[in-house]
Amino acid sequence: MRKYLIQRFSFGILSLVAATLIVFVLSRATGDPLLLYAKPGGYGMSPEQIAALTEKLALDKPLIVQYLIWLGRTVTGDLGNTLLAEQPVLDVIKMKIGATFQLGLVAWIVATAVGIPLGVLSAVKRGSVWDYIGRIFALFGQATPVFFIGILGILFFAVNLGWLDAAGRPTQEPFFPAQFKSLIMPTVALAWLPAASYLRITRSAMLEVLDSEYIKLARAKGVSQRAVIWRHALRNALIPPITVSALILVGFLEGSVVVEAVYAWPGIGRMAVESIHNNDFPLLTGIILMFAVLYVLGSFLADIAYTIVDPRIRY
């Protein structure tokens, strides 16, 4: 176990370095970041200013040295300043992360609360109406692009019916009803696909368990249908969905990039896209680092969850 943890930790670090290095090199290849301050054809900057900025951002050094400088600072907890607003990257991320976490957590809860029960139901009542509802739900969830769900939602609920706002996050207003209403559509758009995955995983796991010998034995003993399902089958059938749930939670980060663009949700995903277009490389690298850290943590948690819910697994 201990060896496994150490190994796991070191490869996690390796992932982080790989992710940030790729982004760092790519974003520096985009063009001169100083153009952010002085657009060509504008008033421009004096040679002294350019020299000072180049010195400050270490732009004259080779790329790999620049990356190492960044890495060294990051280890001490200093992610540098954003180019555009000259604020500490960490502060900017902290400011925006709340909106994304709120959306991701709500979507996670909704996806779990819809997907797993529907999966159990469609396995237990195989071939019934519930099974078909579940199957159609999953088919659409896995085939509809997230942004198309978003656009359909806006078309029907905001444009045609006028029930919900098309975009934005009214933080000034009280949580209920204004903020709650603004959460509904992004949540549905974000949660549908994971709910469909939950459903399919739970359904196939449940079917497999219900087909096993110990369930047949329990039935032969005369255990009631309810007890068979709740006490005997469900516990084992929940192993696969529980282990993917950490990964699904982390997956919302990436999903948020699209959903936040559709609904103008002021979170980290939208800011990441903006920072790419602005060539604000310290901010972008910081965000990517955060994404990668959360992914590594999430997949680690998934493995730990595996050993807890399924004692047969040992590392």
Binding site: A18, A19, L139, F148, L155, R200, P240, H277, I288
Partner: protein, 307 residues
């Protein structure tokens, strides 16, 4: 004799059995998904021949013309001479035509990037499973590291860095596709290489390459095909998402993702611009997924845990 004639002549019986036969076939074989997919492929191949207009042909009199069934608009705008089957966008380009051309790009991007990704991923899986040791360790860790990358953001960044071109999107999607195959193919190879016939081939003096290609590869082909089919849908969705975010195929090119992205601005006045391409994506991805599920249940039920 007489009774036989009576049975076959009884219309109710014949009808019912035919109907149930059709249902039986539809339930057992993925008839509808294959039909939809073949129509889409046909459209993609013959787009220039069957399109009513050119994909970039504009007609300012037909700006935001609704689909053909909204007769009032066409009566109120007699100067517009073109009747649009599925409406027109904000400069009077035919939505249907652009969807036909979009099918070309969406399907071509998905198929090419999938093929590249599957070939690379399967090759790595085969080699690392067969040789084991350092190669195996290295490639499995590479897959782990790769999976931790936030792909969407890196793809947007790459599009900004290298410019928006179709082949760049293909490369990016191939980079997404390869990692998923390695683990499953490797696991399969690990069991296959312990078989007696592999040992016998080795004793007979077959080279590693020959063993891999002639004795192990045929055993994993099913897995590879099933995995590939299950991935197509995801790739089409990824391409559409990239185009939607303005980081995929260049904006003037008609792709389904681009059309939805454009149509978003005209949602309240011209819903058809975004709606029909969205439905096209939905249909194709659904059919591919359905077909993939069917193939998996038939060829490789062990992959059922893969969602």
């Amino acid at each position: 004799m007489n009774s036989n004639i009576n049975v076959t002549n009884s219309p109710a019986l014949v009808e019912v059995s035919l109907r149930s036969k059709i249902f039986y076939v539809i339930r057992r074989w993925p008839v509808i998904p294959i039909l939809i997919l073949s129509i889409m492929v046909f459209i993609a191949v013959f787009a220039p021949l069957i399109s009513p207009m050119g994909p970039k042909e504009i007609n300012l009199r037909g700006r935001a013309a609704p689909p053909i069934w909204e007769k009032e608009w066409y009566d109120a705008n007699p100067k517009n001479e073109i009747t649009y089957l599925l409406g027109a966008d904000h400069v009077g380009r035919d939505v249907l035509t652009r969807m036909f051309y979009g099918a070309r790009i969406s399907l071509a991007v998905a198929v090419i990037s999938l093929t590249a990704g599957v070939v690379i991923g399967s090759a790595i899986g085969l080699v690392s499973g067969y040789y084991g040791g350092f190669i195996d360790e290295f490639s499995m860790r590479a897959v782990d590291v790769w999976n931790a990358l936030p792909f969407l953001l890196i793809a947007i960044l790459a599009a900004v860095t290298f410019g928006q071109e179709v082949w760049i999107v293909m490369v990016l999607l191939a980079l997404v596709a390869w990692a998923g195959n390695v683990r499953n193919v490797r696991a399969e190879v690990l069991t296959l290489k312990t078989r007696d016939y592999v040992a016998l081939a080795k004793i007979a003096g077959a080279s590693d390459f020959r063993i891999l290609m002639r004795h192990i590869f045929p055993g994993v082909v099913n897995t590879i095909v099933v995995l590939a089919t299950l991935r197509v849908g995801g790739l089409i969705l990824a391409e559409a998402s990239l185009s939607f975010l303005g980081a995929g195929i260049p904006a003037q090119t008609p792709t389904w993702g681009n059309m939805i992205s454009e149509g978003r601005e005209w949602l309240s006045t011209a819903w058809w611009i975004a709606m029909f391409p969205g439905i096209a994506i939905l249909l194709v991805v659904m059919s591919v997924n359905f077909f993939g599920d069917w193939l998996r249940d038939r060829w490789d039920p062990r992959l059922r845990q893969l969602s």
